[in-house]
């Protein structure tokens, strides 16, 4: 079996009074995008920062290509932090040139500028960038050394939906070049679009891991029918139905969609505002932890 690009074994991190990361293990293989999901405070950023060599670990180890992380890792890793500032009074181009010179190997800057769509604001001071422009610059910095392993810690947090989707395209571009990616996010849709494999964290532990499809199949075999509460007028709900109320809506969990719809039609329930949807990672998280992902 091929050695994973990066592997964490029984990782633990304790801060005074709290176990931020508790016995976390996983491996990421070359060319795949691995998503680390969880609500704020789940331990995602602590895990990723230990992997990046920013934080020391309390116990456990991180192996990059089978070796403890060291100078090779620093040269071959590209990192986009969740919160970071850049040197003031430097332009976007000067910032890229600065980071380019910190590495032994680097990509062609013109190509990087095009890939990350930085051309329009190349001569702009770092302090005058919008949220989306700034995230693109931070991504470009993470890619400036032509990394083999890319860490993206909540790269789209705070972006508007359009900027977020634009950013997804950039990440898909990076994936297409065969880079190995570790992405943390609390946007389930983002993970579903970008990740080949995910691990869901809560309270410092991994509570589920696998490909999004496998995880959903393993946990759910039903479809959800959602109706406004006032439309759901039945003399009697069949006793074998799983019906739940949520935000003024009735949600029917069923594995027999046709039979359920037929029953509703027979009892003159208006289906005009009915929505049918399959299970999502958001549902999976709710199922596993009993709480909303971004709650």
């Amino acid at each position: 079996m091929l050695t994973p690009t990066i592997q964490v074994n029984n990782l633990k991190k304790q801060f005074p009074g709290v176990d931020a990361v508790n016995d976390v293990s996983f491996a990421i293989h070359e060319g795949s995008c691995f998503g680390l999901l969880g609500p704020n405070g789940a331990g995602k950023t602590t895990t990723i920062e230990i992997m990046e060599g920013i934080l020391p670990t309390t116990a456990g180890q991180v192996l990059y290509k089978g070796q403890p992380i060291g100078s090779r890792f620093q040269q071959e890793a590209g990192i986009q932090f969740q919160n970071t500032a850049l040197q003031e009074f430097l332009t976007v181009k000067e910032t890229l040139q600065l980071f380019q010179k910190l590495y032994a190997r680097s990509v062609d800057l013109e190509e990087l500028i095009e890939t990350c769509a930085l051309g329009e604001f190349l001569e702009r001071d770092n302090r005058k960038l919008s949220g989306g422009q700034r995230q693109r610059l931070l991504l470009a910095i993470a890619l400036v050394n032509d990394p083999q392993m890319v860490f993206l810690d909540e790269p789209t947090t705070g972006l508007d939906p359009q900027s977020r989707r634009n950013f997804w395209r950039l990440i898909e571009n990076i994936k297409a070049r065969g880079k190995t990616i570790l992405l943390t996010t609390h946007y389930m849709e983002e993970a579903a679009v970008l990740c080949d494999e995910i691990a869901i964290m809560d309270h410092g532990r991994i509570i589920a891991m696998g490909s999004p499809k496998d995880l959903l199949e393993a946990h759910f075999n039903d479809i959800l029918l959602q109706l406004p509460e006032e439309d759901f007028v039945l003399p009697q709900t069949p006793p074998n139905w799983d019906v739940r109320r949520h935000n003024s809506h009735i949600i029917i969990h069923t594995d027999a969609v046709h039979d359920t719809i037929r029953y509703l039609q027979e009892h003159n329930v208006s289906l005009a505002r009915m929505e049918i949807r399959t299970r999502t990672l958001e549902d999976l998280f709710l199922e596993l932890t009993g709480k909303e992902l971004r709650g």
């Binding site: 600065l98 910190l102 910095i141």
Partner: protein, 337 residues
């Protein structure tokens, strides 16, 4: 040590400083304004107190010592006191230790007046016993005396806050964390900060020096190369002191407090504004542990007295030792986060 990484960071830091117009302007304007202010304040020639240095004797030998509006200053060493007469820092020097002698500056109006007073208040026989000696030299105005201290003080603030505060800000806003995630080493990072700051401070100090000299034509008797060495070593020493202050904290407020705690005693006790001669011995001992004291002593000796490199070796030696100690402590305490 990668010179490419060092040079990249040095260039970036220089750009940051040069483009921060408000900080750059202030670092040039503040000392110029201070010097001009002192030049104006102390330009009034109507001084009502004459300064006479007295070497030996008990102050009863002549009624001259009872004259009002004359400040009699005991001196313990004749040579430096004669130097002060040369530079008009003393209007007259009297030696009563053996055969009475007095020194005057041949170009000092105050000295001429004091000589007339001495003769008028001393019996003819006694007065005839005084041996008159004259010296000559350009007057050292207060602003000339204060100039080395003001330059050094401006440099001190630039070093402490320009390095210490900037590193703390970098740590707080995550710039250090971002740099830590690259192959850059702490030594390369700190070296770039130190070298950048010294280059910029020496450049700024040169501008201030030339500009104020053009405006008030202050005294510069020594070698420019020696003065450059004093300020370069002094800047390095103070930057290393700044590194200690910035080694760990991520709080700008705390860093500001600590830096002020270090800067203000130097402002007061290092002889920027007044001579430490005659102050309490405890204060004089305390001043010796402050790097600014040795920078100012050396710079003042070069500028006001024309001291050579050999003359200021003790101060340079102390500054070198302090630099090594500060650097060792700062480097060992430094944390990226």
């Amino acid at each position: 040590m990668s010179w490419q990484r060092f040079a990249a960071l040095l260039h970036a830091r220089n750009l940051e400083f040069i483009r921060d117009r408000s900080a750059l302007s202030w670092s040039i304007l503040l000392p110029v304004l201070l010097v001009l202010g002192f030049a104006f304040l102390f330009s009034n020639p109507d001084k009502d107190i004459y300064k006479v240095g007295v070497y030996g004797g008990d102050g009863t030998e002549t009624d001259f010592f009872a004259t009002e509006y004359i400040q009699f200053i005991p001196v313990t060493d004749l040579e430096p006191a004669i130097g002060k007469v040369k530079h008009h820092q003393l209007d007259m020097l009297i030696d009563m230790s053996s055969k009475p002698r007095y020194w005057l500056n041949s170009t000092s109006a105050n000295g001429y007046v004091l000589e007339r007073v001495l003769w008028g208040t001393t019996t003819t026989n006694a007065a005839s016993g005084f041996i008159k000696q004259t010296v000559s030299g350009r007057e050292i105005r207060y602003v000339d005396w204060a100039m080395p201290g003001i330059l050094a003080m401006n440099m001190m603030f630039g070093c402490l806050f320009g390095v210490g505060y900037v590193i703390v800000r970098y740590r707080k806003n995550g710039v250090l964390k971002r740099l830590k995630a690259t192959p850059l080493t702490a030594f390369e990072f700190l070296s770039a900060q130190v070298v950048s700051r010294i280059i910029l401070l020496i450049t700024v100090t040169t501008f201030v020096f030339v500009g104020t000299d053009f405006l008030i034509n202050f005294v510069m008797l020594g070698s420019y190369a020696t003065l450059l060495l004093v300020f370069s070593l002094g800047a390095l020493c103070l930057v290393c002191l700044g590194l200690i202050m910035a080694a760990r904290t991520a709080s700008e407020e705390l860093a500001g407090g600590i830096l002020n705690l270090v800067a203000w005693p130097m402002m007061i006790f290092s002889g920027v504004w007044f001579s430490l001669e005659g102050v309490h011995p405890a204060a004089q001992y305390f001043a010796q542990v402050l790097p600014l004291t040795h920078i100012i002593d050396a710079a003042r000796a070069v500028m006001n007295d024309g001291a050579s490199l050999i003359d200021i070796l003790p101060q340079l030696g102390i500054l070198t030792v302090m630099t090594v100690v500060f650097l060792a402590i700062g480097a060992s305490l430094f944390r990226w986060e």
